[in-house]
Symmetry: C2
Subunit: 436 residues, 2 copies
């Protein structure tokens, strides 16, 4: 019998504010960070461990880590096979645990901690199965997958029977799509060119480079100053040519009337979508903006805390594109629920990525979606930011504008030990001398 | 010049799970706790300090405290008068701070930490002014009060001009109401009788006692088992007589269809309201329940994280009664916004209280509402639970079913030093031998 022995936790911070990569209208100088957890077992093979993390932008990463440690008693000492055999039950137990719920509910630091721990469990499950996570999920039965979902507050939009039906329909042709995915990969778009802190010259050069690299879409940050946005959209549009998509991302800076006015001024640049036009928890506001800017599509989701919020965004007709984040919600479990809700409402999912390791883990969810649920990549693409991947043991690989299907067992969530040491905060070599 | 020197923080936990006071359908055995902060100054008078807290039910109170400490750099070393002169600016700065926002957004542990710190600042402001908080707020000008609100995501429902107009209208007759409040107090209702862990005999006796004590309404917990709820509602209704109100509280246990069915079964007991029939962040679900159970009124709010969520509950027609909580949102500032939204939509506010110190602080907000905004106590009452008040330096006082207007300067948030020592977790005498 293999036992879970406990958690190792690490405060890992990368000094990204030194270059302004990652700068946007809400986040002028983030230090991309991970509150990182390794679930250890007493297995003789040290690789039989689960890796997970919450992504933060620096300050408070220690609080995020404290929240992760709060969950250790739920797993330490338990039989590994028993835990892995019922990850749906574990997810429901963590999300509905009364003191944890009080500290949310179902949002914020404690909910993200639940996500880190559940994702680490899925990494462990996939390692134990000797498969990459996307394939492990794609070959589970519709009943097993539906069993991962907490339907407690979803029943008015999605029942367990409907979930099974969607997954049964999605399974048809699965093996062909596994082969296609391994051959062709999954479409990506690039956010690399568009940070607010970059100069016009950088923007133009990086847009042209993205097209040359095979990306069909680029995303740029907007929302700080309208005149700048018009100039930058024009520069991007010219550098991209007429074919490539141009998405714009406001990172929540507007209220409803401002969003409608501002986006109308940018509509002539034909945005592929406008992202986070207002507070992500303003469901009715987002719906009002969507009605006010037709036909510009609205995307949101990277800060949407749980499937009940996504349910409402869909019910209210607020979304053209759903942007799940692998680490904001309660892990793989809640993202299976999100993918099912999107399928039910016929809305494509284009995940949020970037950050620290978000590309690595979220690619598994889109690939599962393609293979076993949506059945297509039409209108779907995963965000790509070529940044910090070198710190991962099995980094995400994008070539020719497409994510390549991971083959390494696990969820691609393992950070290399050298990076854990170098970027340990505040004591690692990268932080000697403190925050610059 | 007086300087803010820093925060003292305390993990205070009361072993309430030993008696099952506080037990409900979601929280079977809570240990009522406070993540408590004292903002210290270098003033010669040690009483010139600000007291605030977040209320939790035990596990994770340490994480809540870590989140509070995260805010110390925003205040330590600053000039006290400068800070107190612009508490609106401080509130907006904390709520929109980019790394803090990332850890929410505007919800969960970090947002509650913001609430604890802002409330402590208001306690300090009221002490410095030599007034109880309700009176300090009630005598501020409409422009000053509107200046406390972050209108960023509210503009589609409430503008600064509308807020000023509501406050100007509310100010008429203010001095008469101050006198009336000092004389008559503010209506209370009692939740003491209704915990799920209590026996039928306890329930009946405590309901009869509440009526004898002058309470016009009692609230009981429901949602664990329908047959039990029917029996308990019948017992309560009989003990209360026909006059007194009987509110029922499900603490979020139902989904939409279950809530509608269950409440319909209890409608014959004429509930004054049904509270938290589903997830508090399920705005559209709560609205659907309200439509489905008419004319039973719906109340929610103690877990509603911020004014943008309340805005939507009001826009969606989900609420008959708004239940603000003094410590769940970002403190007095966000509750001024909540009271203004309620006034705009014509919905009465009946605050959540109980917990640790929630009665003490929230009474100030209702009294402000009566004196300077709503202008009436009609249809309004503050929850009362006669529990843990002895730990406060200036405890809330309820006699004859009414809260008595506090006269002590401050926000009534100070915990007595003896209690801080006795219930310090895990090292205080009350916890010797660990959690029982």
């Amino acid at each position: 019998m293999t036992k879970i022995t406990g958690f190792d936790t690490y405060d890992v911070r990368f000094p990204t504010s030194r270059t302004l990569a990652g700068s946007d209208a809400m986040n002028p100088a983030p230090d991309y960070s991970a509150a990182y957890v390794v679930i250890r077992t007493d297995a003789p093979d040290p690789a039989l461990a689960g890796h997970g993390f919450a992504f933060t932008i620096g300050p408070g990463n220690d609080v995020q880590l404290a929240a992760i440690r709060l969950l250790e008693p739920f797993l330490a000492g338990r039989d590994l096979d028993e835990v892995l055999a019922d990850l749906g039950g574990l997810g429901r137990r963590l999300v509905s645990d009364s003191p944890l719920h009080w500290l949310g509910p179902s949002c914020g630091v404690v909910h993200m901690a639940t996500g880190a721990v559940l994702n680490a469990c899925w990494d462990l499950a996939a390692r134990r199965a000797g498969q990459p996570l996307w394939l492990l999920l794609a070959r589970m039965s519709p009943e097993e997958l539906a069993g991962l979902v907490d339907f407690r507050y979803l029943a008015d939009a999605l029942t367990p029977d409907e979930a099974v039906e969607l997954l049964e329909r999605g399974a048809a042709g699965r093996e062909d799509r596994i082969a296609a995915l391994r051959r062709d990969g999954y479409p990506a778009y690039s956010t690399g060119p568009g940070w607010l802190g970059y100069s016009d010259q950088q923007l133009a050069a990086l847009c042209a480079e993205a097209v040359a690299d095979g990306f069909g879409q680029v995303k740029i940050k907007v929302g700080a100053a309208l005149a700048d946005d018009k100039r930058r959209c024009a520069i991007a549009r010219e550098a991209l040519g007429e074919e490539a998509g141009l998405a714009i991302d406001a990172n929540q800076v507007w209220d409803v009337p401002t969003a409608i006015g501002w986006i109308t001024e940018l509509a002539s640049f034909r945005p592929a979508w406008v992202e986070e036009p207002t507070a992500p928890f303003d469901i009715l506001g987002t719906a009002a903006i969507r009605r006010g800017i037709r036909p510009v599509p609205v995307a949101t989701g990277e800060h949407v805390a749980n499937p009940v919020m996504f349910k409402q965004l869909l019910q209210a007709g607020a979304l053209d594109i759903m942007q799940i984040d692998a680490c904001r919600v309660a892990g793989v479990n809640e993202n299976i629920a999100n993918l099912l809700l999107a399928a039910k409402f016929g809305v494509p999912v284009c995940p949020h990525a970037g950050g620290v390791g978000l590309c690595e883990i979220v690619q598994h969810l889109s690939m599962f979606d393609y293979v076993a649920l949506a059945g297509t990549t039409e209108g779907r693409q995963i965000e790509w930011i070529d940044h910090l991947h070198e710190h991962f043991a099995a980094p995400a690989v994008v070539t020719g504008g497409r994510y390549r299907a991971p083959g390494t067992p696990g969820a691609s969530t393992e950070i290399r030990p050298e990076s854990l040491a170098e970027f340990a905060y505040p004591s690692g070599p990268a932080w000697r001398g403190g925050k610059i």
